[in-house]
């Protein structure tokens, strides 16, 4: 049987287009068929998780049943008229929701790189969706649990492998309604544009940077041993590859969602134009950074301030930045370079905030003009590219594993 990585090759796109055509004609005439959507979802999930990868398909099914039962039970507990809404029940539920992902992430670190049998493509992204749903149920903003809708939210095939991470309430609103013809035509126009921009990003630019240039500069950097100009080349080339590859994929996922009448949120907004690190995280992998902002950072700050753990607001903000980014590092994987990447961004946020406070206080004496703006963008770009060099793991190869 055929087996594909999502958006991996032209055949996938042709199949996708054929499958979406009836659905698009339906939406154009004001009809949405959940039966048809479910069938094509099933087919495309089978193409991704079937064939030689059938064991990941089994893992996905088990994961899905486990999480639906878990969220269903928690939801039942919260929706009881006299629900005590105990903190420990919530914490245990979140831990249980994260447990499969934790096993998948920790297994390679403790078993010499072997991957866990319960893993499958996209498990991290499904876990984000599960955890946020539990948190919103705890807060009482999700008041009903529909196992089927929740399953469709988790399995929405355009975004299953790497996001963007949607929110349950937002997704359901789109999924349960039909856009007006005018609105749908605008969505199709945008969707098609995104898919074509995605082709440019992923199959041309990411190909040039990642497949053509990266091996060349990496080879040169390894030959040079240690710090070299070639290493600087690796830093920039890898950063460009990372952006165009992931932004290209995200454009496909958003574009295809639009064609299905679902406004999946955008993931990137010209991140290399950022004026500071805070600005960067509002533009880079936005659905992830907003997830961390809303479900980790803000809740952590809320908890810390409510219990008056620290006297100073600044200390509170800073400690929470570092914890937040450190968790993000751990989420990427249990290697030193992901964790250092997280810490690096945590401290970058702390420094960034200190600078913003200083600037606010000394507004009159600090120049602000076109030149300082370009300088800020240049500086931010380089700090970010350096963090990606850490993230790439190339330093690990260069300094620890690359020695002959």
């Amino acid at each position: 049987m055929m087996s594909f990585d999502p958006y991996g090759n032209p055949t996938y796109f042709i199949l996708l287009f054929v499958a979406l055509l009836p659905l698009m004609i339906g939406l154009l005439y004001g009809r949405r068929s959940h039966v048809y959507e479910t069938i094509i979802s099933f087919v495309f999930l089978l193409l991704t998780f079937g064939g030689v990868k059938w064991h990941t398909g089994i893992a996905l099914i088990c994961y899905l049943v486990y999480q639906i039962v878990l969220v269903g039970l928690y939801s039942k507990y919260r929706q009881r008229p006299d629900s005590p809404n105990k903190g420990w029940v919530f914490v245990v539920s979140v831990i249980l929701a994260i447990a499969p992902l934790a096993v998948v992430k920790i297994t390679p670190a403790v078993s010499h790189g072997a991957s866990s049998i319960i893993g499958f493509l996209g498990i991290s992204y499904l876990t984000f969706k599960v955890v946020q749903t539990i948190m919103e149920t705890r807060d009482g903003v999700i008041t009903e649990f529909h196992p089927v809708l929740f399953g469709q939210f988790l399995l929405f095939f355009p975004t299953i492998s790497s996001g963007p991470i949607d929110r349950y309430r937002r997704f359901v609103k789109d999924y349960e309604s039909v856009p007006t013809r005018e609105k749908y035509l605008a969505l199709v126009e945008k969707g098609v544009r995104y898919v074509f921009l995605g082709f440019l990003y992923k199959f041309i630019l990411a190909y040039i940077f990642g497949t053509r240039m990266l091996p060349v500069v990496e080879h040169a950097a390894l030959q040079a041993h240690g710090i070299s100009w070639a290493l600087l080349g690796v830093m920039y080339v890898y950063s460009m590859d990372l952006f165009f590859d992931f932004a290209g994929y995200s454009l496909f996922a958003v574009g295809i969602s639009y064609l299905m009448g679902v406004e999946t949120p955008m993931n990137f907004n010209q991140p290399f134009k950022s004026k500071n690190i805070k600005d960067f995280w509002n533009r880079w992998h936005m659905t992830l950074s907003f997830w961390f902002r809303d479900f980790i950072y803000m809740r952590l700050v809320f908890f810390v301030m409510k219990h008056k753990v620290f006297k100073s607001r600044i200390t509170t903000a800073n400690v929470c930045y570092v914890i937040n980014m450190l968790i993000m590092g751990f989420w990427h994987g249990e290697t030193w370079y992901y964790i250092v990447y997280g810490l690096f961004h945590g401290f970058a946020m702390v420094i960034n905030d200190a600078w913003l406070r200083y600037k606010k206080k000394h507004r009159a004496s600090i120049p602000s003009n076109k030149f300082t703006e370009y300088f800020a963008i240049f500086l931010t770009f380089n700090v970010v590219c350096f963090s990606f060099l850490i993230f790439s793991g190339f330093l690990d190869t260069l300094f620890f594993a690359g020695r002959p």
């Binding site: 948190m135 950072y297 809320f302 301030m305 903000a317």
Partner: protein
């Protein structure tokens, strides 16, 4: 000016260090006056001073980005 509005504006002045009453439609996030930290402080102050419980899940940035929107949101929750 009614009570809720002046209470909210006082909280915002305390948080942002600026009098925002002249510019009720200014985007506080874009202007760098509020951030996640400020948002949480706002929620806590609303709870302490006005007794309105707003869970973090309810905080959708686009619904809380200007002083006018914040006042409207708080009034709707009272």
């Amino acid at each position: 000016m009614d009570e809720t509005k002046s209470a909210v504006l006082a909280i915002l002045q305390d948080l942002t260090g600026e009098d925002v009453s002249a510019n009720m439609d200014a985007n506080l996030f874009d202007e760098g006056l509020l951030d996640s930290m400020g948002s949480v402080q706002l929620l806590l102050e609303l709870q302490n001073q006005l007794g309105i419980e707003v869970p973090v899940s309810e905080f959708e940035r686009s619904e809380w980005e200007t002083p006018a929107k914040i006042v409207a949101k708080v009034e709707s929750m009272q």
